[in-house]
Each structure stands twice: as C-alpha cells, then as structure tokens.
Symmetry: C3
Subunit: 268 residues, 3 copies
Amino acid sequence: VAERAFDGVITSPLCGRPPKPRTRGQTMLLDKGLGLSETGDLLEMAADYVDFIKFTFGTAALYPTELLRAKIALIRSYGVDVYPGGTFLEIALTQGALPSYLDRALALGFTCIEVSDGTIDIGREERRTAISQALALGFTVITEVGKKDPTEPFHLAEASDMINADLAAGASKVIVEARESGKGVGLFDPQGNLKADDLATLIHAVTDPDVLMWEAPLKSQQEDLILRLGSGVNLGNIPPAEVLALEALRCGFRGDTLRAALARQGGN
Amino acid sequence: VAERAFDGVITSPLCGRPPKPRTRGQTMLLDKGLGLSETGDLLEMAADYVDFIKFTFGTAALYPTELLRAKIALIRSYGVDVYPGGTFLEIALTQGALPSYLDRALALGFTCIEVSDGTIDIGREERRTAISQALALGFTVITEVGKKDPTEPFHLAEASDMINADLAAGASKVIVEARESGKGVGLFDPQGNLKADDLATLIHAVTDPDVLMWEAPLKSQQEDLILRLGSGVNLGNIPPAEVLALEALRCGFRGDTLRAALARQGGN
Amino acid sequence: VAERAFDGVITSPLCGRPPKPRTRGQTMLLDKGLGLSETGDLLEMAADYVDFIKFTFGTAALYPTELLRAKIALIRSYGVDVYPGGTFLEIALTQGALPSYLDRALALGFTCIEVSDGTIDIGREERRTAISQALALGFTVITEVGKKDPTEPFHLAEASDMINADLAAGASKVIVEARESGKGVGLFDPQGNLKADDLATLIHAVTDPDVLMWEAPLKSQQEDLILRLGSGVNLGNIPPAEVLALEALRCGFRGDTLRAALARQGGN
C-alpha cells in the first residue's frame, strides 16, 4: 500500500478493510472498454482499491489481440485479477467451445473465469464441469447467480442451492447479478432499491458471507450495502470512474456514510 | 481489420456486417470533447467499429486550433470520418457565413459536413444550396431531419419529403434526430421508447433504408433498433465509452441480443 | 487565451464573459478521480474554460502522495485553482485536526480551501475561525451553504445570513449546495427543477450576485441558470466530460441557448 496524501493528519471515519490481496471488502470494476492509457491512469491512482476488473459481456472478443494482451499484462502488473464476462463463457458453451475458450483465455493472460447462466440455461452437471475445467487450468473461478432477463423472477431457494453447490465445486466467490443498470434484477426492484429481506435470505444461506459479492452499479446501492453489511462488503459492477467515490463511501470520506459513522460514534 | 483475441474459438452469435469502408451498419460517435490521448485510446481499440465521429453542436469552435487539427488528423489516420455538429452550420447560416465556414472546416481537415435545421428554420432552396456547396468542396454530406425543441412535433410526411430531397441533392446519409438525451424527440417518446409505426413510415418512404441513420443514444434504443432492423442498422449519437458495448449488441455478444439470436436459431 | 479554430468565421451567439483570471462566469469542475493523462487531456483542451477543480468529498485522502502532488502541479500550471472537497474539512474539524489539515493541504500545493457544513453542524464562530485560518495561510476561501441530507430543509433566511457572514469573514465565493446528483437538494426539487423564487431570494440577499456560485450538475440546470442569469453566471459541480458542452451553452453554440439568443435578437 502506497503512502497516502493525508496520512498522519486525517483518520478514516469508518474502519477500513484488509490490504490486498484480501478476501473481504473486494471491489470488482465493470470495464466496457477502457483504453490502454486510461487503464494506466486508473491503476496508478486506485490499484490498491481494485481487486478484479471484468471485461464485461463478450467485449473481450472485440479487442485487437495485441492490445488485449497488453491491457491484461498492465492490469496484472498492478496485482489486479482480470476476467472476461460470464456471458462470453455462456456463448462458448452454446458453441461447444468451452475447452478452447479456456485455453485461449489462459494464453491471453486472464487470471479468472466467470461461470454464469444469466442468459442461457445450464444444467447442474455442466456448471460443475465448467468450474472444474477452469480450476484445472489454474484459474480462480467466480460464479454468478441470477438471470439477466427482467421477466425471469429471482428464485431465492434456487440461488441459495446454487451458491452452495458452486462453493463446494471450488468457486472462490459467488456474484449476485444486478447487470450494468442495477434495476429490476436480482435483489433490486425496478427503481433500483434493495430488497432487504432477500438480501438477508441469501446471507443466511451461506456459512461465510464473505464469499458473496454484490453487483451494485448505483451509488445508492453501494451506500445501502455498506451501511447494512459494513465497509468490508464485496461489491461488483462498479463503473471505473466511480472507484474513488466508492472507496470514499467505504471509508466514511463522503457525506452519506460519514453521517452514519458519526452517529455510531455518538458524535456530531 | 485487425486480428481479434478469440478468432477461431468463438463465433459471433449474430451475423456481422461488412468491414470498413461500409455503407450499412455504420456507427457514429457523439464526441463532446475527448482529449487527444483519450481519442488515441479509443481508436486503437475500436477504430474498426467506428465510421464517423461528430464534434457535437458547436464544440468545434471551442478548441485551440492546433489541438483541433491534431485531433482531426489522428481520427483520419484511423480511417474514420469526422465532422462538426449540424448546429454549428446553422449558426454559420444565421451569420451569413456559410462559405467561410465550409472553407475553414476544409482547411482544418474535416471530411464531412452535416446540414440540419434542428434549431433554426431553413428554406428548401437554402438547404439544397448548402448541400451543393459542401459537395463542391469535396465533403461527404450528411443531413438531419427533426427538431431539437421538444414542443415541436415531428412531422412524418415532411420528414419523408425532406429525406428524399436531401438524397436527390447528393447527401450520403440522412440522420433522424434524437439529441444526446434520446427522450421526447423524433422517433422516441418522452420515456425514450421507440415509436415503431413512425419508424416503419420513414423506412417505407425511402428506396434504400441503408441511407438512414438513427440517433440512438440509449442502450435500450440501440437494442430495439438492432432487433427490428438487424445488426446492419446505422446508429448515431453513440457515447464514445459505449462503442464496444454497442458492438457487442450488434454481434450478439451481450445478453439482450444474444437471447434473441439463440431464439432465432431455435437454440438453447 | 489561445487562438480558436473558427476565429474570424463564426461569432458566439451569446456574449462571452471575461477571460481568466475572472470573478464572474466561473466554472468549477467536480473531479471524482481523473487520472494524470486524463487531466492533461482536459486542460490542454479546456483550461481557458475552467476556473476551479474540486477533488470532491474526501477523495484527496485516497491518492498516493506523489500522484496527488503531480496532479495538483499540472492543474496549477494551466492557471486553474484546485481544492479538496468541503466534506474533507468537516472531517478534519470533527477530528480536531484543522491546523494540520490546512498545513498539509498547503504543502501538497492546493490553492483553495472550501469551508462547508453539509454533513456536520458547525457553530458560527468555528466557521469564521476556519475561514480566517485558511486565509492566514494564503488560501483562497470558498464557502458553501446547504445541507447534503435531503431530509434537512434549505432555510433561505439562514443561508442568506451565512452568505453575508462568510463574505464579511473573507470568503471569495459562496457555493450553493446541489451535490453530484442535483436532485432534492438546495435550490432544486426532487426532479432537479430549479425553485426560481428561492433563487431570487438568495440573489436579493447579496450586494453582488457574482459572489455566488451555483452547483448545477445537470444540463437542464445549467441551461436554466444561463437563461435566467446570463452567460456570466458562476456554475459548479460540472462533470469534467461536460466542460465543452457547458461552454457551448454559455456561448450559444448549442440548440437550447442558441434558440434563446436568436429570439432575443429578434432573429430567425
């Protein structure tokens, strides 16, 4: 962790979380195609706050090969994990191309694989096999629960079962789907408000809540989850331009969580 | 077209469109002032997906001259056409400065000119003359139909007439106005939903639908138009940060259009 | 002021404002963590249009020290003032760390200090003292009125008193709070519409309206304030990517204010 500009002068109002590499308090950025100098800018400033960068949906297929290699290498040089979106693996499955997909991803330098069924349906066995094959190649595996289609309801019992099966199969983290919009999907109602009972049900389903990562693209969602679950909550689908703003929320350096931190201290 | 990172492994679920230079499946980006390194980042990654960059409204007037020249040269070096917003030409017309406007635009390196009447009223003859003068200097001419003022209704019959007159006068493409917001303007209702009947009417008015370009700043609009008109639809006013996301929609590399592609294949 | 690309060809439809350094027509950008090359890109293009850059809330605490120094130096080299968000000073006050906060800010190169009470309550005397201490170190002082919590009403009489007290204490400008969202805060209703009567009341409270700066993150708000108060209005919390778009509004180079400018000329 680099020296910070106000070290020794100002203390974070909310307690921090462990430094990287960490298993709680992780942040995953949703990358829709940051350029190389933009990626360098971001990491130079905020690498300590970023655990994963996801090249969302199938955007990884759209890069010139050499540029993709260079970007992945840059991200890894800052100690950040990087993976293609789950939709891309779903496409590979529909094309019967999982092994060559995993081999290519490995050759390009990706460190993680996401296994999801947000768009297509995958059988339990097929899902477990995909996890195993990725693990066998040395990838970290992240899985996702929840459908992208807003007309498909989110079944809590099914999601809980799947989470536990994925963890048993070797997944490091399970992401709860909220898409890029955060509205009318997974735990969020059409206005983007958190369904607190559903959140509690999912947390109750797992032995260790730190294995869950919540997609929370909107600031109100990030704030809500931090206030309910603490600064050490795992948050995903964060827009890259919001990385310092999220970190400020986590640390109480922003009005919304600062107010809560002061109230807890019985302060001001 | 450069080699892509997953060539030979994954196939696009939706059929592609022709490589550049192309007359269908074009993408026009709305540039509100990308810096020089940001522009380089964008083009290095996505030049194959971009046909036009528009320096929106009168922003071209606000650049230091040498920076504007350098940015235009950079864009052209990637085989992308570049032009100032139509509002800027409208200002030139109100100031009786059309010839010097065109000369300056040419000297700066712009390759296209947009002729519109989104804010001011222009007579038929004046519009035709503007098109001719731009053509005479060697510019590609793009025209636009539709008013920016949300209180002015969009007259389909008038728009159809104007589209055909513009094409007869030598315009390469006609853009249908949706502004940066995409709401309550042209073919979109105040919530940004497409008026499908109006779309059909406009398409019916032209011999070749490929001459139309639809401003579609919102993802839901891009998706809707791709699903109705195919991957080869011409789309404009795309935010630069969305260029890979749009390309993913066009190729079926994103949940929304992937689902439709699979349904058509009778697949998964 | 650098030469502009269409100088001598097109005239701004709305009258301009004085060149920098200026006391009216100022623009303050809300910076949530622009990287170094992005900042360079922005300033190379638009430094003449930017008077202040605010590192919003407590983001200044999150930078690696050397990167923060380099970014501040870059901003200053373009003649732009730079300061940490008011929330950060509020945190310093709750931690009894105001003197060391000001010293560190000075050492890092910040040129301004914002004094606010958006999240915590500060007594009149404490506020005056903070202003004095910052002035004594050579900072320009900007204060802010208005609470960030949407459940706390905006008291016009209190705000007017505070504005005048701040100016008497040596503040150069007083900002009227609207947050990053611009909705349900200060002068804006929950839809982000301006409460015109409240605006008039605040303007009436001060001898010189140029000392007020209006946070106006949304385009509709910028447009409304420019049409009511003129191109020379001071506007803050502008997203950096909108800087040319705002300048186009100020100059009448965009449909919305162009229409108004032409109507006033009795033109077109």
